[in-house]
């Protein structure tokens, strides 16, 4: 017997979306499978790797740990929501400029976690950057350049 679905309305990347979700589906599944926003990645599915990081109501969350139904009424920003009209935002630009992107699979989550950090703390110290990104794994080992990228983006804000 098909499970009863839950009606959810959320604002995703500025657009109001109303959809029926399975009660056991995560926000990650909903974004990827129903809204076809595949920029958000799945890796560990247990909130350890950060690949699925999105911003919900102004806070970064692991979308694999949040049920889609819990996002009812929420405002969600995914990696697809950062660039405007094909123009990268400052953080995305500085990830490219600093050479912070290798295979790129962790990058959407990494950028979203960094964006959340900058939203709350526009000029973080290196220690604060490390703390802010401690939940995002990069197996290519590009951390040093990721720190540089976040730092450069934060400096840009000061100018």
């Amino acid at each position: 017997m098909p499970a009863r679905t839950v009606s959810v309305t959320m604002t995703v990347n500025g657009r109001v979306r109303t959809l029926e979700v399975q009660p056991h589906h995560t926000l990650l599944q909903c974004l990827r499978e129903q809204l076809e926003l595949t920029g958000t990645k799945e890796c560990c599915s247990m909130g350890e790797c950060g690949a699925c990081t999105v911003i919900v109501d102004g806070r970064s969350v692991n979308s694999c740990l949040m049920l889609a139904a819990e996002a009812d009424g929420c405002t969600v920003t995914t990696i697809e929501g950062l660039a405007q009209d094909g123009r990268l935002n400052a953080l995305q630009e500085s990830f490219l400029e600093a050479g912070a992107v290798q295979c790129g699979f962790c990058i959407p989550g990494m950028v979203m976690a960094a964006q959340d950090l900058l939203n709350h703390n526009p000029h973080p110290t290196v220690e604060q950057i490390k703390e802010g990104l401690a939940g995002n794994l990069c197996r290519c080992g590009g951390y040093a350049r990721i720190i540089e990228a976040v730092h450069a983006a934060s400096r840009g804000k000061m100018e």
Binding site: L137, R139, A144
Partner: protein, 749 residues
């Protein structure tokens, strides 16, 4: 004039897609009517499969097919890059924890998951081979069916191969000092952030298979073999891997998906969980015993090496890993007498496969540590003992192979300087330094097609996989540089065997050198064509025409490529096409089927501080120096080198797969298996390069994808020993081990 692109660091080609989420990794690709696949496995490492009851699973709404070995051609096809020993799905026995005994294809992933849980497998757990000692126990069960290698005298043992390399005479060599020790290196997993994923779909009388595979042409061959199809009817799509590190080199569940696609007549899709990815590939575990002799002045007299290498239940590429790593086990030194004996031992564990460094980190952990031990006994500085034994450029150090191809002492000195080697140390601190040497490809067949379009832009078609190393960027730079066109006018097409020409593999840090050479040659071929054709347009003889990147110089004036193409192709349009290739045939006289194309040499140096209360290591300064020949894109080189170094810190400080008595991985998943996070970075990291333009690749380049982790463990281990007096021989260097070592040290044990 056009810009020069070599030695510059333009932004990564494909970077825009990666920071916007537009990059399509395999799991992001959607095909209409795709069935979701889930696998069923038993809860131990070795079991006899008595019955697989799929009746309940088949009743789950949405289930399309439940496949077991009984549904496949009999005998069930087996595959592998070197030994064809791995069945498409488990037959009679499950030989490692995670080996699928059934696969479910359903309309939704939920239905597939539910049905997989409903498959009832009756099995009997059997005694398993889970350690090196198990594998060497004559009473242990055989992992591999002896009928798979009927002529092999070792068929009734768990030793797949015994390899012997060496030269000189270890027995007769005179040494002033002999040191002997045993070092272990545990199983570790690749942990690419992109878990393995696969798709397959029927394609008329052929098949299409999607895999984030590093070597699409090896997958094509294997699918063609198991399905008995011509290569032309097997089309492999290989989207850029989200991290490979060797783990995505060789086929795993693609043959199973191919059969499922043909059985169901539908596209099928399997995305593994991270836990299942742990169970799909790993680095081999080693126990290396080394006896080494030295003269009083520090010269190495001999190395006598016995390496037991625990590979998995199926061979995959592991035999080649054992072979290549053993061959260079003595490292980058002048060693007059060497005896290297290695055993590849089968076990009921996850098949071990290629993993960045290809077996070298396991060997260098042991052999480099021996140099430090000798240095201490002889009262010689650890940098000095290495300098004393390094060959000079041009000197043969592995008989019959490529002579030393770099100024390796430069790398050593530069790394030493980066950690202020020799300056006074603060209390609780220590320094270590080590070298790593890896051979690259010993044979190759790499082709490219380069098309120059009507508007002067160019499309390069190549079988290399861009898994983060930046092959697209570097190849674009070569084309832009040689053809004198902007980088933005070069497109690189990869990842479709129906479109790109053959390539052996994306492995062994080979692509810049080998595929790069093919790219470079295609550019020269294109310029030669232009020269021939332009002679007409310019009413000149061919030898009066000079093609210099984007400009054609003739006796009466110059012509741009664009003007030439407009004139030559005319309003009919069209394009110029060139093929470039780099082929190095196998030579069976050589133990590795050929000499190496170049040596990948790297030096690691570290200054650490150890908290004696907890055993925690804090790395203050960490330096890696690679001999890269020429950095075509310095930023990319640094990213590869620094990234490898961080990965090396993972297996040195924290990573190991732990099995229970039933062969199950106890620390399965991201919570219990830790890899370096951003907080584990050394306080200061230096990623440096030696550039003497002495490599065989374009502009004198060498490969550099792996060097950064070849010598991490011995460098850090040596630093810990200097800081604490404690010598650890078993990786990883966990706080518990160091703390225990400190306690034993205090008690004088």
């Amino acid at each position: 004039m056009s810009a020069e692109w070599i030695g510059k660091s333009p932004r990564r080609v494909g970077g825009f897609e990666r920071v916007t989420g537009a990059q399509q990794f395999l799991a992001d690709i959607r095909l209409d009517g795709t069935l979701s696949v889930r696998l069923v496995h038993v809860d131990c490492g070795h079991a006899k499969i008595i019955e697989v009851d799929t009746s309940e699973a088949a009743k789950v709404p949405g289930v399309h097919r439940v496949l077991t070995a009984a549904d496949l051609p009999q005998p069930v096809p087996r595959f592998g890059p070197t030994f064809q020993d791995r069945p498409v799905i488990a037959v009679d026995e499950a030989k490692f924890f995670g080996e699928p005994v059934a696969a479910v294809a359903a309309e939704t992933d939920d239905a597939a998951q539910e049905a997989a849980a409903q498959v009832r497998v009756r099995y009997e757990e059997l005694r398993g081979v889970y350690t090196i000692d198990d594998a060497l126990d004559s009473g242990a069960p055989l992992v591999q069916d002896p009928s798979l290698r009927p002529k092999d005298p070792l068929r009734n043992t768990n030793t797949l191969e015994e390899l012997k390399f060496g030269w000189g005479d270890v027995e007769k060599a005179h040494a002033d000092v002999v040191v002997e020790d045993t070092y272990t290196f545990p199983m570790v997993t690749h942990f690419a952030i992109e878990p393995y994923a696969f798709m397959a779909a029927p394609d008329g009388d052929g098949i299409r298979v999607w895999s984030p595979i590093q070597h699409p042409f090896i997958l094509q061959r294997i699918i063609a073999d198991v399905l008995e199809l011509p290569l032309a009817k097997v089309r492999i799509f290989a989207p850029d891997p989200g991290g490979g590190f060797g783990g995505k080199g060789y086929p795993k569940f693609e043959p199973l998906l191919a059969f499922l696609a043909l059985k169901t007549g539908r596209p099928v899709r399997l995305v593994l969980t991270l836990e299942e990815s742990f169970q799909a590939g790993r680095r081999m575990a080693n126990r290396v015993r080394v006896r080494s002799g030295f003269l009083r002045n520090g010269s190495i007299v001999f190395h006598d090496i016995m390496a037991d290498c625990m590979i998995g239940a199926y061979v995959d590429i592991a035999a080649r890993v054992v072979e290549k790593a053993s061959y260079t086990a003595c490292g980058p030194y002048r060693v007059p007498n060497a005896r290297i004996l290695s055993r590849a031992l089968l076990s009921h564990t996850t098949p071990s496969t290629a993993f960045r460094g290809f077996g070298v980190p396991q060997m260098s952990w042991a052999v480099e540590s021996q140099l430090d031990e000798a240095a201490r006994k002889l009262g010689i500085d650890r940098v000095e003992i290495r300098l004393r034994n390094l060959p000079r450029k041009g000197e043969v150090f592995i008989p019959g192979d490529l002579p030393c191809d770099g100024n390796w002492d430069e790398a050593l000195r530069k790394a030493a300087a980066a950690v202020d080697w020799g300056s006074p140390l603060a209390r609780g601190r220590g320094r270590g330094i080590a070298l790593g040497l890896k051979i690259s490809a010993t044979y190759a067949a790499s082709y490219v097609v380069l098309r120059l379009h009507y508007d002067g832009s160019a499309t390069l078609m190549t079988g290399t996989s861009d898994m983060g190393q930046g092959a697209r960027t570097v190849f674009s730079q070569i084309v832009a540089h040689e053809m004198g066109i902007p980088l933005s006018q070069v497109a690189v097409v990869m990842g479709d065997t129906a479109v790109v020409p053959y390539d052996t593999s994306t492995s062994a840090s080979r692509s810049t050198v080998i595929m790069g050479t093919a790219v470079f040659r295609a550019c020269q071929e294109l310029k030669a064509q232009i020269r021939r054709l332009a002679a007409d347009t310019l009413s000149a003889s061919e030898n009066e025409v000079v093609v210099d990147r984007g400009v054609i110089h003739g006796p009466k004036g110059d012509l741009t490529f664009l003007a030439f193409l407009r004139d030559f192709l005319g309003s009919t349009r069209g394009e110029l096409i060139a093929v470039g290739q780099e082929v190095k045939k196998k030579t069976w006289k050589h133990p590795l089927a050929g000499t190496t194309v170049f040596y990948e040499l790297s030096c690691t140096a570290a200054e650490v501080e150890v908290d004696t209360g907890t055993g925690m290591i804090l790395i203050h300064t960490f330096a890696t120096v690679g001999d890269v020949g020429k950095a075509l894109n310095p930023q990319h080189v640094e990213m590869q080198d620094g990234g490898a170094a961080v990965m090396g810190l993972g297996h040195t400080l924290m990573e190991h797969l732990i099995l229970d008595a039933s062969g199950r991985i106890r620390n399965l998943g991201a919570l219990d298996y830790r890899i370096p996070t951003i907080k584990d970075l050394p306080l200061q990291m230096h990623s440096l390069a030696i550039e003497n333009e002495d490599g065989p690749g374009p502009y004198g380049s060498k490969g550099t994808g792996e060097g950064g982790l070849l010598a991490t463990s011995p460098a850090v281990g040596s630093a810990v020993q200097e800081a604490t007096g404690v010598k650890i021989r078993d990786l990883p260097l966990t706080p518990e081990r160091i703390w225990q070592g400190l306690q034993d040290h205090v008690r004088g044990r």
